[in-house]
Symmetry: C2
Subunit: 315 residues, 2 copies
């Protein structure tokens, strides 16, 4: 038997045919296209799933479930789309409509939560019972999986780990709060800190690395500079890692998961994980209790995690 | 059938005979006494449970389970005490030893988690599927119950909601971190803020309310003063409520529980809950998604919560 996972993005719909171990056997991508209405959207999703199955050489009767991950809040109990960012489909009973066309078990999830579920079963969390995923990208996202169950909250909007305030009256966040972790631990924040450090340090190697143009600074710039002995670059890395560790240790003290995995662009930095894991360990409430401590690691599935997790929503 | 719940404190052991609805039918308390060893401790617990059953007019055969809540980390899967604050019993296989004397299902839990479980089934969370409890006492404690299951973490030390840092490099906490929520939202913190405000405001009514002795300031002092129009008192209340709301909204954004309940001495303040609930609602990530928002309320079981929750650990 196979499962279908669909990652619903603002631009593309990407489906994967996934086996019960979480391996992707085939993928198919189509553009979301101009928005029409809920029924049109449902038919896009259904046709995409059917064609992916066919292209992979399977029959629809071999499909155990179709799972979909959305950028927003969904209700997997009722099968209704609650609130999807940039897609005006609030309140659409997707499962009911989908099943009128193809009567297969249908599951709905949040995309970040699906990615965490994928990592739980087939990636960084494989073999563990609890996993917290933190994604260091444009924002700070994440997902929490406990005993195989996604922590979605009673209203489908739980797991917003980037929107815990760590600096009272700090930087204004898009969510409306001030001082959210996302404002200090995202790739966006890292770039902002880098530019600030460059402006404060005309002697920094970071100027050379960006060809004298601070607008070309990237998240890797301070790491590259620090590796070559640049003090200002090293200071940016230290400050950034302290902020990431602060919020991550908050999550550890709440969840004490078996595994804490970092994803997103910044997590690829080779000089990040070791000092980060060390800082988290220093702030782990459990460190004095003589108990097992969390394993800090990288996510391992990359962009496939969302499809795999969506496919395994019904597991 | 009945369940026995035992609340293990540093001074007393208190057992309750509890029915399946979480009602306490009888309680019995004995002193912990001078420490001897694990077996002596186990025999104390077992004798206490047996006597409570007898005094309540039941027979041991009518007992479904015996649950115990400890001030520390336990492992309910193995039945071993991991690390108990102030009781040198780490590694003691309590369930196995207890059952050699009385072969009944035995469950172990953390005391704060047991209190949350009690509130979940029989108190503030009754009828809901997810509950976060925050206790505003000497420290800030808490417990999280999701679908009837305590979030204890993979090593039994999860749910330490007081030890999330909300002020980078803030006040030194006993846990080793700096700037923990507990340092700003506990009754201890409220008293500290009150004394600071009194020293800064010789004109404050709070001096009169404490008979001119700042060491007599209590958590209710600024609330009493504010009610009588004292500006300094009102400012302490506002600052304190902001800190409580900050950490509470962090928990809401992570868990989106159906119910968030406050316990501990400070929660009894009549002027606390309304402004606190308002501030939390303002910082709730879900407020823009058109979904149900968390119900903010008081814990309702008081000191009985721990016994009731321990009794229902096996439910």
């Amino acid at each position: 038997m196979i499962n279908i996972g669909i990652d619903v993005g603002g631009t593309n719909l990407k489906a994967g045919v996934v086996d019960s171990e979480g391996r992707i056997l085939h993928t198919k991508k189509i553009p979301l296209g101009p928005w029409q209405d809920g029924d049109y959207f449902m038919n896009q999703l259904c046709t995409l799933a059917e064609e992916a199955v066919k292209e992979a050489g399977f029959d629809k009767s071999e499909v155990s479930s179709v799972g979909m991950g959305f950028p927003g809040a969904v209700n997997d109990e009722t099968g209704v789309l609650t609130y999807i960012t940039n897609i005006p489909v609030s309140g659409y009973p997707l499962r009911e409509k989908f099943q009128q066309r193809w009567n297969v078990p249908v599951h709905l999830g949040n995309d970040a939560n699906c990615a965490a579920l994928g990592e739980y079963y087939a990636g960084a969390g494989r073999g563990s019972r609890s996993l917290v995923v933190v994604t260091l990208g444009t924002g700070v996202g994440g997902g929490i999986v406990l005993d195989g169950k996604i922590l979605a909250g009673s209203n489908g909007t739980g797991g917003e780990v980037g929107h815990i305030v760590i600096v009272p009256n700090g930087d204004q966040c898009n969510c409306g709060r001030k001082g959210c972790w996302e404002r200090y631990a995202s790739a966006t924040a890292l770039k902002r800190m880098t530019v600030e450090a460059m402006n404060a340090h005309p002697e920094s190697l970071m100027w050379e690395l960006t060809g004298g143009d601070a607008s070309k600074a990237e998240g890797y710039t301070p790491f590259d500079a620090a590796r070559q002995g640049d003090a200002a670059g090293a200071e940016v890395c230290r400050t950034y890692i302290d902020y990431v560790a602060l919020g991550a240790a908050n999550l550890v003290n709440i969840f004490q998961p078996e595994v804490l995995a970092f994803g997103g662009g910044v997590s690829a930095q080779e000089d990040l994980m070791e000092p980060l894991a060390k800082r988290i360990a220093e702030e782990d409430f459990a460190r004095n209790a003589g108990v097992a401590s969390v394993k800090v690691t990288r996510c391992s599935l990359g962009n496939d995690a969302g499809i795999i997790g969506a496919a395994l929503l019904g597991k």
